[in-house]
Subunit: 271 residues, 2 copies
DNA sequence: GCATGGGTATCGTAGATCGATACAACCGTT
DNA sequence: AACGGTTGTATCGATCTACGATACCCATGC
């Protein structure tokens, strides 16, 4: 049957991995510093004082002062409305807009996901493959969800998500195992699988079925099915997730009903 | 009636506008350059070659080379999958995630907007006030929409949007007029109002009614009602939009039905 | 074969950025 | 009301980063 095909060809890693490393002399330390400052808010999403910024970015207070002033002028930081400290600025959203708009996959996916969400009545996500993590790019909720389940830009570990496993299933074993090996195998819920052998088993299952599913591995009470979006040579670039609640569905019913829809949507996006 | 109250107190501008300007000696030119490079994609959302980057950011090819290499390493740029040039990188989404997560308004708004969308069955947006533009932060579509109507991070002129006018209505006349004056009054559709007097009239209407609406002023066939979210002293920070199609609704019916819902949601968010 | 436009690498110099330090304004506490 | 603790702001000479011209390699296209 068709759901058992299409995932036989696996992605063959190129001879030499395109290491994104560069001559140190071409790396602009002072430019990087600004981004380290912005990245400080990934660890503590709240207003940061100059001293906290300096500490988080591992720079002197003077350097922090200059960077902060510069980013305030540019709009990538804003003074906290609470009076003290700075927070990420609205200008950041302009850049994410550019990102989404520049990515043809996102544009092609949008109508397909909208349609899919209407058909399913469940939450539908598009995630992007990024090594040991996946990155949610489009999220279409329908019910009331946890706040984080609504945010695009969120990252989750590849090994513990349905989309991640669907994408691992596209890679050859060597590559997939290597990603699991480099992952920090910390459980997200009591049900998260952290044994590489068990994970591999699920990946092989996904390879056989053409889709992956996880049961309460990233959020208790949640079931997710997902199918990978691939480009040439079966290389995974993203995945389409359909997520539902175990309060409303049995695992079996949910899979039977939604897996084919995820697979179909993912296939429509693959090329 | 209640929809005609609550907007009487207007925001009083503080004595001195908080000009975000800084001693030139504290502004890091080399840091800013990196952002200019990223901002190049706002004008041309497609892969850019080194030479194009250099030209767009007004820097030498050598400088562009260094900045691009640095941003590639950091993940804010990626090599274009088409082989040549670079495009915005996934790491940008991490920063927008930080932004959304750091902003208490977004978090509080999320469940309210989800509920509102379920009630309405129409597109629901949260926009943020940003001087002559508004910035969409949360967008909950329900029907099939144009691609751009789904993207958060999109900016629109304040003067021509329902949310923008609802926010102008919170300001005192001097301030509101000044924003209109500084706006580039270019029509988005044949129906966009560009006469400051007419715009002011609509703003006053919004002030009286507690909500604003626009008919096909930013997209033909679209009607939008919006109510402002304010913080202390009635200062506008954002707006809640409900957008529908004139193919399905008469303007009157749409306003009657959805304006009270927008007002109620906005009030729940104001503080 | 050569021109064109991509990306990459090198190097000496100019000047932008460094960071210690001092200052100012605001807390809450004693 | 003086205090210690924050916060953010401002200054300045020395150092070391980043500048940009240039040369280079490798594709394409004709």
């Amino acid at each position: 049957m068709s759901t058992q095909q299409g995932f036989e060809r696996r992605y063959q890693a190129p001879e030499r991995e395109p290491i994104i490393e560069v001559d140190e002399r071409l790396f602009l330390k002072s430019a990087a510093r600004s981004f380290y400052v912005l990245e400080a808010f990934a660890r503590s999403p709240r207003p940061l004082s100059l001293a906290e910024v300096a500490k988080a970015a591992k720079i002197s207070k003077s350097a922090a002062q200059r960077v902060v002033q510069t980013l305030l002028v540019l709009g990538y930081l804003e003074r906290s409305p609470t009076g003290t400290g700075v927070v990420p600025g609205r200008r950041i959203l302009d850049r994410s807009f550019d990102y989404l708009r520049s990515n043809p996959l996102i544009e092609r996916a949008t109508p397909i996901l909208t349609e899919l969400r209407k058909t399913c009545g469940e939450r539908v996500d598009l995630s992007l493959f990024d090594d040991v993590t996946i990155l949610y790019a489009i999220r279409l909720q329908s019910k009331r969800e946890t706040f984080y389940a609504t945010l695009s830009g969120r990252r989750m570990p590849t090994f513990a998500t349905a989309g991640g496993r669907a994408m691992l299933a596209c890679l050859d074993d060597r590559h997939a195992d290597e990603i699991v090996r480099r992952s920090k195998l910390a459980p997200l819920t009591p049900k998260t699988l952290v044994d590489p052998a068990l994970i591999r088993q699920r990946v092989e299952e996904a390879r056989r079925d053409g889709y992956a599913y996880v049961l309460e591995e990233s959020l208790m009470g949640e079931i997710v099915v997902a199918a990978a979006v691939v480009k040439e040579r079966n290389m995974p670039v993203g995945a389409i997730h359909i997520a539902g609640s175990l309060a409303e569905w049995s695992a079996e019913d949910f899979r039977k009903r939604f897996a084919p829809l995820a697979i179909e949507a993912a296939r429509a996006l693959s090329g």
